[in-house]
């Protein structure tokens, strides 16, 4: 099982001091966070993609390319790449280059973005969001799998005899996850292609995630990619830890109360009860996270959100230390207990290359 973090990349004032980092400071902090992810033994660093203030990651593969050069081991991913408004040709090119730069430590999560105006900013019609997703993803897959592509669709100029360069590393495209907060359409899309399904999980009650993952697993089996239990599931999570759980609650409360996504609404206690947010000791985080398996089954990737709402870099790095030292080693061990042998691990470049070779040998 893989563990990592996903960052939104927001520039939010620290509510306890009123000061916000500059964009340069936020980007440098993101680099420090990614380096820490590798240092403490986590597996995945994923960044969001946003095209408006107060966010900084508008160009994820630039950021991930730099991180690839400074790390050796972690998988670089996104949360999410906008399949609706980004040109699928450019997505294919950017991630193809990143895949080569990182020697295969690349995958990506496709999604639709979090703000309506991103559609008109990129010349797209928000009412076509689902149709754009289907058509663009179809083209993206072709570009990665076919040497020469002849293609015609509704939303993009046709391609005749187009060849993506560079070709995917070892002839194997990056693994694709489909990320969703709300809509079952994305679960259906992921199941259709046998891709990974990542449930954002952190902004909605667990019952919703349970339903979405169940749908994805059923449809994964329906489309003949394996059994429901073998479907590739990722989950978000959101934690804040101190050794003493009361200290965690006291320290995190002002960040929660003023957080852009849920601030000024439910109390920390209410939100903790209703969503996977866990504020407390490492042991509490371990117990809560292990509980996710009860409603989604054995899964492949767990990403935590730790660096939002104006939390200072020092605090975020402390969270990563605790994840790496106290939490994830226990989770790795415990998640293996009772895990059926035929439930696959999260696909990696190496496993995809091996699968391709064995397919070639079989055929």
């Amino acid at each position: 099982m893989q563990f990592g973090i996903f960052t939104v990349g927001d520039v939010t004032p620290d509510p306890t001091t009123g000061t916000a980092p500059t964009e340069a400071e936020r980007i440098r902090a993101t680099l420090a966070i990614a380096a820490k992810v590798e240092e403490v033994g986590l597996d995945v660093f994923a960044t969001g993609e946003h095209h408006n203030p107060p966010f900084v990651p508008s160009s994820p593969t630039t950021l991930l390319g730099f991180i690839a050069g400074r790390t050796e081991r972690i998988v670089l991913s996104t949360s999410t790449t906008l399949i609706t408004t980004d040109d699928p040709v450019k997505i294919a090119e950017d991630f193809s280059v990143l895949q080569h730069l990182s020697a295969g430590r690349t995958d990506l999560m496709l999604g639709r973005g979090n703000t309506g105006p991103v559609y008109p900013w990129f010349g797209k019609d928000i009412r076509q969001a689902v149709a754009l997703t289907v058509e663009n993803y179809d083209l993206l897959r072709r570009l990665w799998r076919e040497e020469t592509v002849d293609w015609e669709g509704r939303f993009r100029t046709p391609l005749q005899g187009f060849t993506l360069v560079p070709r995917p590393l070892d002839g194997v495209p990056p693994f694709v996850w489909h990320g969703s907060i709300r809509t079952p359409e994305i679960a259906e899309l992921a199941a259709y292609y046998g891709d990974g399904f990542f449930a954002n999980h952190i902004f909605w009650p667990a019952s919703h995630t349970e339903r979405m993952v169940r749908l994805y697993r059923q449809r994964f089996e329906h489309y003949g990619h394996g059994t429901a239990a073998q479907a590739i599931v990722g989950l978000g999570g959101q934690v804040f830890m101190r050794r003493n759980s009361q200290d965690a609650v006291r320290e995190f409360r002002p960040y929660f109360d003023n957080a852009p996504v849920y601030g000024h609404g439910p109390s920390l206690e209410e939100f903790t009860a209703q969503t996977p947010l866990t504020v407390g000791s490492p042991q509490q985080v371990i117990e809560r996270t292990l509980g996710f398996r009860d409603y989604v089954g054995d899964y492949q990737r767990q990403l935590f959100l730790v660096d939002h709402a104006g939390l200072p870099l020092k605090t975020v790095l402390e969270q990563l230390d605790m994840l790496g030292e106290d939490v994830v080693p226990v989770l790795r061990k415990e998640f293996e207990v009772g895990r059926p042998a035929d439930v696959p691990a999260a696909p990696t470049h190496e496993s995809l290359v091996a699968a391709r070779k064995s397919e070639g040998a079989d055929g």
Binding site: V134, W151, P184, E188, Y192, Q274
Partner: protein, 209 residues
Amino acid sequence: MTALAVVSGGLREPSSTRLLADRLDAAVRADLDAAGVSASSTVVELRPLGRAVMDAMLTGFPTTSLAEAFDILADADGLIAVTPAFNASFGGLFKSFFDVLPEETLTDMPVLIGATGGTERHSLVLEHALRPMFSYLHAVVSPTGVYAATDDFGAQEGASLRERIDRAAVDFSRLLRSCGPRQRRDVFAEEVASMERLLGSNDRRHPRP
């Protein structure tokens, strides 16, 4: 068994809005009963859900108690919705409740509208505010709504509140019986089915390699 949901947006306790809602409910059930249709009703008071409604607006998901209220509406065959008139419109809590109610909940739902106010000067709030909102939500709004001013609860002459309630109840009862039992919409399944069709048609245009 016809299931009625009754939404009361009154803010005070006791509430004249709730009083009107209860009287409409009783009159509708009496008329259904006379027509040989048994009915049950469940009241959703909005005041206790005030914070939950605002939290749902801010977080995008309902608390358990609010989700239960949503289910009462989704499972109903008809809705009686009553609000106090504030500033020439419905009350803010009433509007907010319907703003966070999941889309399509009221599609094809027969709705009887009612409103209360200090004087009869605000009676057109039914036609200017409630009817357009429920029409927008694809509900089937009963032609006769009931507005009750404070004086109506003690008036001796003219078109009495009792008569107006009965007239509205007869119309709504006929609408309910014509529409019959209502199938709850499963938007989740509908979205999956439409995605399946879209993926299938894309595959026919561009067969997978």
